[in-house]
């Protein structure tokens, strides 16, 4: 008989060990899956997890790691505050889009002026765009008690329609021969978020690292982080400690929205370059996985963002080189979250093997 027994307090060791165990289990089960598809499991796993870093073409893939990882980390850091406090912003994708639109609109309005103030203004506009978009579910929740999960998620689809309309209408490139999509901001020096394109370094990467440090300090040293953690664990105790639940909802929603908006702005002004119909590729949703994979801990999120970016890039390599279907790679990414949640039980419970004796 196998029995689960609740630990008197969470195991410190397992808190760190479970993500690693989950990755290993994913590799094993993913390998079995690939073998069942008739591929060599070892080669496939190596292609996905190691080739982006160590193959002969790694010089091309490594910058990609920063480009793909930065928005994931930036968004996930914002989400982690809300998730810790029990506030479920599922609509980061929408806030990411609106942040990109607002930031890009500011940049495009100044085209072709060159000034060092343009980019900071765009950053501000991007953050405000995401913030305002996140305030909609936030204020509705506080004022009318609506469910922020549903409202924030539905606003993603509204944002996608807004994006299409912008790409086809207001922000369309007047010199674009009627094709949808805005001017390329990456080629407009005053508005570009690139620092060094050859190594994948842009301001979004810098912001992601800054966000990690700020989040770490806030959660471990500041009373705000303490209140966030408290509100998530025991809402009543948080009230007793003087936390205003409505204010906390607005702060957490606003923070995650602003960071998602920033991520959108850095993306549109750099790697993506322009506002287009298919500008968003799901960073806002993947960031939810990254946040949980990283245990809602800033350092964990940094590592998880890297890992997630790795499987994206590795997955692309596996698709093109080994002919692996995209669905198989997505399944493996799903497995990662599944195993993480499953082995998570070990943090709070201990497994006991032994036969139950009849009384």
């Amino acid at each position: 008989m196998i029995a689960l027994e609740k630990r008197p307090q969470p195991s410190r060791g397992w808190t760190y060990a479970t993500p690693i165990l989950a990755v290993i289990l994913t590799m094993i089960c993913g390998g079995l899956l690939f073998a069942a598809l008739g591929k060599n499991p070892f080669e496939t796993i190596r292609t996905i997890f190691l080739d982006p870093l160590f193959s002969e073409f790694a010089f091309y893939y490594r910058p990609q790691l920063l480009i793909k990882g930065a928005p994931l980390v930036l968004i996930a850091i914002g989400l982690s505050f809300g998730f810790r406090a029990g506030i479920w912003n599922i609509g980061a994708e929408g806030q990411y889009i609106v942040g990109a639109i607002c930031g890009a609109a500011v940049g495009l309005a100044f085209y072709p002026t060159e000034s060092i103030f343009i980019f900071p203004l765009m950053v501000l506009a991007g953050a405000i765009g995401g913030f305002v978009w996140a305030m909609i579910p936030g204020v509705l929740r506080v004022k009318f008690g609506t469910n922020e999960i549903l409202v924030s998620l539905m606003l993603v689809y509204v944002a996608e329609q807004l994006l299409a309309s912008m790409a086809l209408g207001a922000l369309r490139n007047p010199e674009g021969m009627g094709f949808p999509g805005s001017r390329n901001l990456a080629q407009y020096d005053a508005a570009s978020s690139w620092i060094d394109q050859s190594i994948g370094m842009h301001w979004g990467v810098v912001s992601a690292f800054i966000a990690v440090i700020f989040a770490y300090v806030a959660l471990s040293r500041h009373i705000f982080g303490f209140h966030v953690r408290l509100a998530g664990q025991s809402p009543r105790a948080a009230r007793f400690a003087g936390v205003n639940p409505g204010a906390l909802i607005l702060i957490c929603m606003g923070l995650s929205g602003a960071l998602a908006g920033l991520a959108g702005l850095f993306e549109v002004a750099g790697p993506a370059g322009q506002i287009s119909i298919d500008f968003n590729i799901g960073y806002g949703f993947t960031a939810i996985i990254v946040a949980f994979l990283g245990r809602l801990h800033p350092i964990g999120i940094l590592l998880a963002g890297g890992l997630m970016a790795l499987t994206y890039i590795g997955g692309e390599i596996a698709q093109s080189n080994l002919g692996l279907p995209l669905a198989a790679i997505q399944m493996m990414q799903g497995m990662l979250l599944f195993f993480l949640l499953a082995v998570d039980v070990l943090t709070n419970y201990r497994v006991r093997f032994g036969q139950g004796k009849p009384a």
Binding site: P10, F226, F240
Partner: protein, 507 residues
Amino acid sequence: MNTPLLQLSGLTKAYPGVIANKNVSFDIERGEVHALLGENGAGKSTLVKTIYGLVEPDSGTMLLEGQPFIPGEPRAARAAGIAMVFQHFSLFDAMNVAENIALGMENPPPQREIAAQVRAMSDQYGLPLDPDRIVGELSAGERQRVEIIRCLLQDPKLLIMDEPTSVLTPQEVAILFETLRKLSAEGTAILYISHKLEEIRTLCDKATVLRMGEVVGTCDPRATSAREMAELMVGSTLHVPEKPERPAGDVVLTLHGLSAAAPHRFGTALKEINLEVREGEILGIGGVAGNGQDELVAALSGEMRVRAAMLHYKNRDIGRLSPNRRRKIGVLTAPEERIGHAAAPDMSLTENTVLTAATRQELTSRGFVHWAKARAFAEGVIGGFDVRTPGPDNAARSLSGGNLQKFVIGREVMQNPDVLVVNQPTWGVDAAAAAAIRQALLDLAAKGAAVIVISQDLDELMEIADRFAALNEGRLSAPRPAKGLTVEEIGLMLGGAHDMEVAHVAE
């Protein structure tokens, strides 16, 4: 028929790190009211859960009427004639009494039949209860009657009652005891778990005392003093709190016509509460749970704001200040619920210190928490209040109820409050810890603080309070000096404050 109803022999149950029951053996006779005594964590709950089929013992046997008895689940125990009334009721507030009773049955008969059975039972055993009433509107005593009648409908041979009187008024206790005596006269055995030794002395035929999972003695409670039984439970001499005489000081806290709507559907509205609390006094507020205690505490702590001019601290209107602003000026609170309200279970004791002591102990500067300072304060509380834990880094949930309670009270007392409001300071706490907590409250008052103690334990209030008031349906009776109050007078204050108010208005 000389075989006892239930024979327990050598029952042992171990959990990781703790042996809950160790070789427990005793017999329960037919029609006997058998008390099970012990401090918190002595293994009483594990033992009754074993009998009720919720816990499987590691070793040992049970014989029911001479036959081996191995209940794999509560259903089997119920089928064998064992019924249990839990300390926490499992009733649905939104349903009526008969519906709630039907929910607990394997094959419920039609509603009308159940209602008839409930009426018959309540007449037979003197338990007044209307089967058509909604449970959410019932008092705690009435809810307990629902649970008892639910059990009695199974025609049990053994009725287990876990701390049944903790939520009752003295009058309700009297009704309950009458019922239990009637049941026992008809041959139903009763296993009665309680902390209240005087009750056991009036009700029970026999008592078995558990300490650290082992049977340490049996006694005839009618022939043993409460003090002797308490010492048997604790295993050492008991320290009785001393109440020094002291002059009353100035009024520090004034409640003036304090009214507030019920915060949620099954909450209680506070109605026109007038009260003055003086420096150096302990004001005891009695009353049955659910009569506005939680709401009064919330109004005093600042979790629930009240309108202007209703609440004054030294001539300052504090009714709309936040909890932390009140803490800053010296008004502190310790709520009833330890886990999830007074403390966060998964956080360490150091972190739980920051929960209420951040403002007053200056544990933060510009929002940044001084963890070393917080840890030192937590260590001070642990040392000062004899909290049994390896250290301040342990999670609150790893502490036993009594130890966490000592921590929660200690955390507030050591912040030197001018006004301290505590709700149920010794609820579910063993005798030695309860005495320590009461002594701490007395010492605090002796230093000049005004202390409001809200409790359902009348003995406790009589022991430490200078003045006594009763809370009933959100109204507070006028406080009277605690010295010389009789049980009858208190009972009237608890149950009758409302009626008196109405009569007064009618004049």
